[in-house]
């Protein structure tokens, strides 16, 4: 707990050189005032106090300079690793509906996909058995709660590392680079996140990054249901799940979908008549493996697994998994994103 906070403050000190705003000065004052207090908490093992100050210290802006930076990779055991060993199983929170990422194949009845491969690699490293995993299907907005309530050890579920979340969960280094992109029929006049969306009906998942992006800038697209958030919600333009958008698109009820390109690739793989529009995503996001805040041994261990996972060039486990699941929908990715570590 205290380590995370100390880190945040130091990271902040690093980044203040170029910042001169009054607001930041206030943040400096607040951080500096809280710094000794935080140390005191650390000394006396005040877990909860340390935790709460970690989330109240206004370090978000500073940490967001590099939210993807994670703990250095370490092959050591700790209390959390020990817990998994004792149980003999790794409990992983995954998606069961995300084609090519985490999906239960109805024929083999097994979960498969890029995320699932990674879970197996983590289980193999910690327990020596790639199948020593209990998969728990968790919905998108239960990812953080599942970790906080110890329902799962890790969440490997196309989870974006961002400033808001790093105060809630601990992320590994990035294992995939993604971004929001527009998906539309090949024959559509829509050619990206631009003016071509004007007057078009655009579908997004409720509460998704894509929805927020449209709210910020919609290019005149229609993207809200009349009764959103009420009992009569039509679930037409904003739907419970991103895949529902493809249903509406195929039925001609919407003209385009905005979603994560990684998920969009899963949709494109299910419908040869649609494609990702625009050269590249209009945002950049990184997926990370999430663990409970403070499970540093586990995060370092996952980072260690990821080191191995990335190693080997074109024959690396990462590239093998990429070719198996993602290359069709998301071609042209040369390799995994480089890991970034905190310098401490």
């Amino acid at each position: 707990m205290t380590r995370a906070k100390g880190r945040g403050t130091r990271g902040g000190l690093r980044g203040w050189g170029g910042v001169t705003g009054m607001a930041v000065a206030c943040a400096v004052t607040a951080s500096l005032t809280l710094l000794p207090l935080a140390h005191g908490d650390g000394t006396f093992g005040g877990q909860s106090a340390g935790h709460s100050s970690a989330s109240t210290v206004p370090t978000v802006a500073e940490e967001c300079e590099d939210p993807e930076a994670s703990l250095p990779a370490r092959d050591a055991d700790g209390p959390n690793i020990e817990k998994i060993r004792k149980r003999g199983k790794l409990i992983a929170g995954v998606d069961q509906n995300s084609f090519q990422w985490g999906y239960r194949n109805p024929e083999s009845r097994t979960l498969e996909g890029f995320d699932i491969d990674l879970v197996h690699a983590i289980a193999e490293d910690i327990l020596g058995d790639r199948d020593a995993v209990i998969f728990r299907a968790i919905p998108t907005n239960q990812r953080i709660a599942a970790l906080e309530n110890d329902k799962v050890d890790v969440v490997v579920r196309t989870m974006t590392i961002n400033c808001r979340r790093i105060g809630q969960v601990a992320f590994s280094t990035a294992y995939f680079q993604a971004g929001q992109q527009v998906l539309a029929p090949k024959a559509s006049t829509i050619d990206g996140y631009n003016e071509s969306l004007k007057g078009k009906r655009v579908c997004t998942a409720e509460g998704s990054t894509a929805y927020d992006a449209l709210k910020e800038k919609s290019f005149g697209a229609v993207y809200e249901d009349e009764h959103d958030g009420t009992g009569q919600d039509e679930d037409l333009l904003t739907v419970p799940n991103q895949l529902d958008c493809l249903v509406r698109l195929q039925l001609g009820e919407v003209d385009a979908i905005v979603t994560d390109n990684a998920l969009a690739a899963g949709q494109a793989a299910q419908d040869p008549a649609v494609e990702l529009k625009g050269d590249k995503p209009f945002t950049t996001e990184y997926y990370g493996v999430a663990a409970k805040l403070g499970a540093d041994d586990l995060v370092a261990r996952v980072n260690h697994v990821l080191e191995d996972y990335r190693r080997g060039g074109a024959d690396s486990p990462w590239m093998t998994s990429y070719r198996t699941w993602l290359a069709t929908g998301l071609p042209g990715i040369p390799g995994p994103p480089a890991p970034r570590y905190r310098s401490n």
Binding site: Q96, N97, E107, I134, Q270
Partner: protein
């Protein structure tokens, strides 16, 4: 009846009146005035009085017969509507409702079984859709286009192909192993629970309401007939008493026969309608009320089953608006709670062992179902999807088995209550059978007897 004697009519119109349109008021006034004058003259002599009293008596008896005929014919027609029209329509609406809910449940069950859907599940789905389409066509034919029911039928006819289209898309995608299939199935379910089932429910409510109205119409007390009967009988008694006073003769055969006829009609009317009322009320109280509760219970069991299946199809993809619980699991819980309450109500309504036995079976089935469901949820939450799936759709010891048991029991209970309703309602309709014509015939006989009886007295003056 009001034609004047032939030959008088052309002379009637006054000189100032246009002669071409023979105006009715002119005739009436003429006839009325003439009759009044004759009456005044007749009322001064005993034979004249007898003639007037005889005519009035005969008229009262005929009026009694006519009113009884009209009033009871209307009651009998309402009773007939109950048996042949509104109850069957209400039962059909319930069948449409049930078929649709069952189809949705089967679609989800088949989907969960994997790419190759079990043939019996497919067959049941097909039968449900066929039944619903057939009944919708029937219902459309027997419903007035201006009614709300017809609007619901139109809505259902329009949405049913949309629904089946979505289910077929879901199957095609599922067959290819694509998760899109699950999304289509959920969309189909959304259409079903959000649009089709509410329309079917409204149709059912409207038809059941019509049944209640028809039954109430049939049971309405025949005040006019009874009143007319009492007046006619009273008049007959008064006439005979007057006769006795004046002539010291105890019996006048004609009047006695008329009194007997009127008494028979009055008793027949009172007893017949009372029996019909009792039977029809019994049909509603013991049959229809139970049918209504059981129908609703069955729909809830079907919805709960569909939601249980969809929990496994959606795999946590759809949450309650507050984002804390699985939407389908929550809906399952709500449905089961309502089902439990309705079964409890059905058990209280059941009035014999044959009726309460299947309801008890259903209650037991629901309790096992809920136990098994809890276990299946625990298994799924533990991450063991395959075992959870078996616990839900497996052939033995699954929640599916419990659901079938509940569904079978409810079907038996419904058949029993439908029987009870039919028997009682038919008895009720039967109790009124023949009464209108009998009343009319007896009244005519009575009137003739009055005239014969009075003429006998009159002949004594010649």
């Amino acid at each position: 009846m009001t034609y004047p004697p032939s030959g008088t009519a052309p002379r009637e119109p006054g000189p100032g009146r246009p002669s071409a349109p023979v105006t009715v008021p002119a005739q009436r006034r003429g006839v009325g005035a003439e009759a009044a004058a004759r009456l005044r003259a007749a009322a001064t002599t005993e034979p004249g009085r007898l003639q007037i009293y005889g005519a009035v008596l005969a008229l009262l008896v005929v009026v009694f017969g006519a009113v009884t005929y009209l009033e009871i014919a209307a009651r009998a027609s309402s009773a007939d509507d109950v048996v042949t029209r509104s109850q069957p329509l209400s039962a059909d609406a319930a069948s449409i409702y049930r078929s649709l809910a069952d189809a949705d449940t089967m679609a989800a069950s088949g989907f969960l079984a994997g790419a190759q859907e079990p043939s019996e599940v497919l067959a049941r789905y097909d039968a449900d859709i066929e039944e619903a389409s057939r009944l919708l066509v029937d219902a459309a034919a027997s419903t007035d286009p201006a009614t709300a029911s017809h609007k619901e039928i139109t809505t259902l006819s329009r949405l049913l192909p949309v629904y089946t289209g979505l289910v077929e898309r879901a199957r095609a995608n599922n067959r290819q192993g694509l998760p899109l299939g699950g999304a289509y199935l959920r969309y189909a379910n959304q259409k079903m629970t959000g649009e089709l089932l509410p329309a079917a429910e409204r149709l059912y409510t409207a038809e059941t309401g019509r049944l209640a109205t028809d039954s109430a119409d049939a049971r309405r007390f025949p005040f006019l007939s009874l009143g007319a009967g009492i007046v006619a009988l009273g008049a007959l008694v008064w006439m005979q008493r007057r006769n006795y006073r004046r002539t010291n003769r105890v019996f006048n055969h004609g009047l006695l026969a008329a009194t007997a006829a009127a008494t028979v009609v009055l008793l027949w009317l009172a007893v017949g309608h009372t029996v019909a009322r009792a039977e029809l009320r019994g049909a509603m109280a013991h049959g229809q009320e139970s049918l209504d509760v059981l129908n609703k219970a069955r729909i809830n069991s079907l919805k709960a089953r569909a939601n249980e299946n969809l929990t496994l199809v959606a795999r946590g993809a759809v949450l309650t608006p507050d984002g804390t619980r699985d939407q389908y699991e929550t809906d399952y819980g709500t449905g089961m709670k309502e089902l439990g309450a309705q079964l409890e109500e059905a058990r209280e309504l059941a009035d014999d062992a044959r009726g309460s036995k299947p309801v008890k079976d259903a209650i037991d089935g629901v309790s096992t179902w809920q136990d098994r469901h809890r276990k299946a949820r625990t298994t799924d939450d533990r991450g063991d999807y395959d075992s959870a799936l078996q616990q839900v759709i497996g052939p033995e010891g699954s929640t599916g088995e419990s659901f079938e048991r509940v569904d079978d029991a409810l079907e038996r209970a419904l058949a029993h209550e439908q029987d009870e309703f039919d028997t009682a309602a038919q008895d009720g309709r039967g109790a009124l059978g023949g009464l209108p014509f009998g009343a009319a015939a007896l009244a005519v006989l009575g009137a003739v007897a009055v005239i014969v009886g009075v003429n006998r007295r009159l002949s004594e003056y010649r």
